[in-house]
Amino acid sequence: MTNTPKRGDRRNARRLSLAASTLTLALFVASCGGSEAGDSAGTLTVGFDNEPVTLDPAFSSAISSDRNVLNMFYDTLVRQDADGEFVPALAEDWEQDGDTLRFFLREGVTFHDGTDFDAEAAVANLTRVMDPENGNTKAAALAKVEEVTAEGEHILELTLSEPDPILLVNLAHEAGMMASPSSLEADSLDREPVGTGPFTLSSWRSNVNLVAEANPDYWRTDDEGEALPRLGQVTFDFVTDPSTLRANLSAGQVDMVRVLPPEEYLQLEENPQVTFEDTGVRRSYYISINQEEGVFENPQAREALSLAVDREGIGEAAASGEYDISPSFATEFDWFFDESIQVPEHDPERAAELIEEAGLEGEEVSILVRRRDPDPTIAELVQSELNQTGLSASVEVLEFESLLDQMNEGDYDAAVMVIDVPRLDPSLTFDPYLVTGAPNNWGGISSDELDDLLAEGTRIEGESERAEIYSEVQRSIGDNNDLVFLHQPTAPLIHDVDLQGLVFNVDGQWRLDEAWFES
């Protein structure tokens, strides 16, 4: 019984020398473990660094990590498996007929509060997401849905204004999560999630922990027809400090940690009770460049920056060698990854020439960076490389809120930033950073060509056609040095070797409904 995706296996085999193959006795650890987390009783404790602000999926703000928690409480009409295929969930079947999408809903499913899940409930949920007036964060996901109607107790119909290649993707995640109509009305989902999911909320203390109990009436069964979920209780311990998370894992206080930086997880390599699972998640470091004013308004200066940075050197120093190099936010497992696009060779001499040609020698450049390891180290490396080109660079280490403030005001030259990739769809990865005037387009990238390409990417259907468009996009940002992409540290999921049955989403986020402890 394994639910690890095939791609996951390949990734494991490919890279993780960290894996549990060379298990030896650890120096210390695992002493007071196990018993405390009550493994055999089916109690899982997760060390989680990114506590959701809300458990209302329509208002969820973390790009992907919230879903690890939301998946506990909510189901969607369809699920998307790790290979990107859509499989039935609350909808047993669906069909597309022109601009009409019809879902045949599962019967006999109840919400945690006992009310039945039916087409009316689904309409209430989707209509709420489609209403931009209530300020929800997912409205854009259903922007091309014109109307939602119940065509019978268990038939749901969506009318589209135009084709939407990622509608099913969106419906399979936060925008399509189904909550009880009475809690929608009470507007209480933010602290009291009521869905149809495998677990029910037992308690949630902000910044401390969240406890969930198995939902005894869960509709799903495993392949053998056995009831799910298998775990009796799941606790999320909200801890942000990586070294505390690592210590808690060592001591057996937690069974799984969402993500740790390489310098922390490499310390667990010798621990026989811990295994690393490469779910394909990468932390994609990049440099946001202000091209509206200052030195980097000059394209030659941006090119010089891209040539000056030693991506391999930064990866070795700041990610302990556990990294990939990619010319964009794409990872090599993504369907829109294009091998023919490469990052430029490290060429400090050419970079210095460019700065000289542009007459920018001695010009001052400020590099902003968030106060969180290892980011300042990366900024310092970039600084020294820029100084060698003849520019005069300085690093400003800021708390995240202050950093964003300055970037939103355009008060910076360059900023070392990071996002988790992959996202569910390339449009969700690229659009917020590249479309003219988009929220995370701090540097003022504004190109009709890019805007048209990105709009086309959300219009046409077919993976290979879309892959071509996103190749164009990646080529364009590389050619113009709109963003400079650095390294992509691996971010494996780290968990107790006895924890089995984790199910992954296409973007590496996990589900716990089939998880269990092997004793």
């Binding site: 790009i63 311990d237 210590a247 001591a251 809120e401």
Partner: protein, 316 residues
Amino acid sequence: MTGFILRRVVQLVIVLAIVSVALFLLLRLLPGDPTTTILGTEATHEQREILRAELGLDQPLIVQFGQWILSVFNGDLGESWITGEPVSAVMSDRLPVTVQLGVMSLLGALLIGVPAGVLAAVRRRSTLDTALTGAGVFFLAIPNFFLGPLLVLLFALSLGWAPPSGFVNFTDDPIANLIHMVLPAVTVGSMVVAVVMRQARGAMLDSLGGDYIRTAKATGLSRGRVVMVYALRNALLPVITVTGLQVGALLSGTIVTETIFTLPGMGSLIVNSIFSRDLPVVQGAVLLIVVAVLLINLVTDLIYAWLDPRIVYDAA
């Protein structure tokens, strides 16, 4: 005495008024936007505006301050911007942890610090005195943020005697609760124990040199009785003073220590809320701590009078 207490209460109100204005304004000077924490970086301008209106952030600062101070007077500290929970509920959930941590470290500091100080004074210039004084200087010099991780490394990770972090409610499991609290209490208490010990030693040396001690000895009283009753009672006064003053330091120690050990107390609440720009929670929590420190100083003054009948607060 009543007049004294009244004066102090008036002082307390004035201090609180100044603190709340300063607190409110200083927090507004922080860069950053609470809507980023709530909506993420990729939210649109419209989504942010809707949320700002909901939180009342579209009002002028003076209106926001007025609304806040009015509701504080009505006993309502407002709601968390991030979670929507009432600030008072959040604090009543967190306060017991900090109180327990404070009481454990203070009691520990007194129980170890006073006897150690007395012993060092009685055995003045002995090896024991040198060792105790040395240890005191060591603990005085070592900062919380260094001692905490050091203790975790040794007692949690190497020896496995205590958990590296976390918290269990006393009502759920008293033993586990105490086990989780030992390392944090040692971390917070280390600095206080050193201060108490040095103060106790110094005060004891003073009173042991007093004429009344010589007289007491001359009347044939036992050495133990002279030290424990005659000298110690007089020496306690300065010890109480420093202990009272240490409560402020203790509270700031809990902020660092709770963060290191991820204890759900007031300290970690303040730190987390500052980082997430949850200003109503920061305001409520800081106000509460200010009130606590002021009240403890008042109580300290009252204890003086009880310990030393010569101290009279009201002019006749």
